[in-house]
Symmetry: C2
Subunit: 306 residues, 2 copies
C-alpha cells in the first residue's frame, strides 16, 4: 500500500509513484479479466481491443476514480469495475480520434496506433466494442447502496455522449484551421477532456456510496482537474519533442488546431493551468484531509512532462 | 389500431400494413423526442445522427420489439423506449458498416450514406453517439417489475458487443474474398444480424414483464427470424436491382462476399429461409394465438422484396 510518509521537512509526503504503480497493476489485472481473451473469436477484434487497452496508458482516469473512492472511505476494489469501464471509454475514444478521418495519428504512447496495426475497419470496430463493453462492465457491477445501475449508466452515457465526449471531438474537428477564442477553446476542452475525467472522479465517489456534499465536491474537483489536464496537454504539444511525448508533437499547430499557448501564449497558459489546479485543491476541502491521493494526482498532472 | 380482420376465406387476416404504418409513426415520434434537436450544439453531429435515424428505415426491429410485448399482453407504449434503443444500435451499426474502411457503400435506402453527406469523421462520431444514446435511453426507462436495468443493459451490451454484432461485422470483413462454408456463413449471420433481432424481440418481452417460458419462446423466434432475415437479404442482393433495393445491389458478389445463394444456390437458399421461418412460427405456439403480429411480421420478412 502507498503510504503517507513524513518527509525531511516534517510535512506529509504522499508516495504517488508507488500509488500509481499499484493502481496501474491492479487496473491492468482487472482489465485483463474484463476483456475477452485474444484467442476468443473473432480473435483479430479481441487482439485489437487488447492492443490499445494495454499500450502503456497512464491509467490516470482509473487512478482518479480509485482515489476519489478512497477519499470517501472506500477501498480500491470497490471502485475497480467503474474505473475499468471509464478506461474502456477513454481507450475507445483514443482509437477513433487517431483515425485518418479524425486526427490522423500514426503513433500513440510511442507505439503505432490501432489502425496502423489492424487497419481502419478493425480499429473502428475495436472502438465500438470497447464502448459497448464499458456499459456491460458497469451493468455487471453488484450494485451500490446509495446509487442504482440506472444512475451509473446515465452518468457514463452523458459523459461519453453527443453533448460531452463525442460532442467535444466534433467541435475539435470543426475548429481546425479556424481562429477560436479562449471561450470557444474552453468549450471544446470541457467536453473533449474534462467531461470524462469529471465522470471518473464522480464514479469513484458513487462506488464509495458518497453523500451529496461529497459528490458535488468531486464534481468540482474533476471539472477543474480535467480542464487543467487539457491546458497542460496543449502546452506539452508545443514544448516537448515527439520522443518525449510518445505521440507526434506539434500536431496541433500542424493541423492548425487552436490551443491555449496559441491563443493566450505559453506563460499565460501555465498560469491558467496553475489556477485551475488551485481551484481543484479547493474543492477537496470537503474531505478534511482525507483526499491525499486526489491532491497528489492533481499536482502530478500539473507538473507532468509527457 | 390495426385489427385482426376476417378475410373472405373466413381465416383471420392480420392487417400488417396498417400495423407497420402505426408502429413506424409512433417509433418516429418517440425517436424524435429521444434524440437531441438538430439545433443543439454541436449541430452537425445531431444533424448527422438524425439524418440516418430518419432516412426511411423500415423499423423492423422496433416492430418486432413492440409485437413481442403485445404477444405478452403489454401495450405498445410500454415497449417503445427499448424499441427505440435497439433502433439506435441498428442505425449506428449501419453508419459504421457503410464506411469506406468497411463495406464502402454510397447509398442506403436510396439516399447517400452518412459519410457521403457529413464526411467520414462525423459519420464515425454520429455512430458512436447513437450507440451511447441507446444505453442512455434504456437506462432512463422507469423500470420493469420482473427485470432490472442491470438485466436490460447487459442484454443490449451482449447483443451489440464483440462476440455478437461487432464480432459478426469483423467476421464478415475477414471473410471477404474467401470461400466460406455454409456453417461459417451462418456464424457470421447469427452475429451480424440475428443477435440484434433476437435482442429486439426479447426486449419486447422484458418490457411486458414476460415470464421465463415466454422469454425462451421469444428467444427462439428472434433467432430463427433473424437468420431468415439475413438469408433473404442475401437472396435479394442477387435477384433485385439497385433501384428496387434502395442500396447498391450485387455488392456482395462484387466484394466477393460469401452469401447463401453463392454457396448453396438460389433455390436451396429460398428453402432455407422458408424452413427458418417455419421454425420461428413454431416458437410462437407458446403464445396460444396471441402472437398474431409476430407471426405476420415473420411472413412479411420472408416474402419481402427489398
Amino acid at each position: 500500500m502507498a503510504e503517507t510518509r513524513t518527509g525531511a521537512d516534517g510535512a506529509n509526503a504522499f508516495d504517488l509513484d508507488t500509488y500509481l504503480k499499484e493502481v496501474t497493476r491492479e487496473v491492468d489485472r482487472a482489465l485483463d479479466r474484463y476483456l475477452p481473451s485474444a484467442t476468443v473469436k473473432p480473435a483479430t477484434l479481441h487482439k485489437a481491443m487488447r492492443y490499445s487497452m494495454f499500450a502503456g496508458g497512464k491509467r490516470m482516469r482509473p487512478a482518479l476514480c480509485v482515489a476519489a473512492a478512497e477519499a470517501c472511505g472506500a477501498n480500491r476494489a470497490q471502485a475497480m469495475p467503474l474505473a475499468c469501464a471509464v478506461e474502456c471509454i477513454h481507450t475507445y475514444s483514443l482509437i477513433h480520434d487517431d483515425l485518418p478521418a479524425m486526427d490522423n495519428d500514426d503513433f500513440r504512447r510511442g507505439k503505432p496506433t490501432n489502425h496502423k496495426v489492424f487497419g481502419e475497419g478493425i480499429a473502428i470496430l475495436a472502438g465500438d466494442a470497447l464502448l459497448t463493453r464499458a456499459f456491460e462492465i458497469a451493468a455487471q457491477c453488484r450494485g451500490w447502496r446509495r446509487y442504482s445501475h440506472k444512475d451509473v449508466i446515465i452518468e457514463i452515457a452523458e459523459a461519453a455522449g453527443s453533448k460531452e465526449l463525442v460532442g467535444g471531438q466534433v467541435a475539435d474537428l470543426e475548429g481546425e484551421g479556424k481562429d477560436l477564442t479562449a471561450p470557444q477553446l474552453r468549450y471544446i476542452h470541457e467536453r473533449k477532456t474534462s467531461a470524462l475525467i469529471r465522470c471518473s472522479v464522480r464514479l469513484g465517489g458513487i462506488s464509495a456510496n458518497c453523500n451529496r456534499t461529497q459528490l458535488l465536491a468531486l464534481t468540482d474537483f474533476g471539472h477543474y482537474v480535467g480542464l487543467a489536464f487539457q491546458v497542460i496537454d496543449d502546452i506539452l504539444d508545443v514544448t516537448r519533442s515527439t520522443e518525449q511525448l510518445g505521440k507526434t508533437a506539434g500536431k496541433d499547430a500542424a493541423a492548425r488546431k487552436a490551443t491555449y499557448p496559441a491563443i493566450v501564449g505559453l506563460e499565460k497558459s501555465r498560469k491558467i493551468a496553475r489556477d485551475l489546479t488551485r481551484k481543484a485543491y479547493g474543492a477537496l476541502d470537503a474531505f478534511h484531509g482525507r483526499a491525499t491521493a486526489l491532491q497528489a494526482l492533481a499536482t502530478y498532472l500539473l507538473n507532468r512532462e509527457h
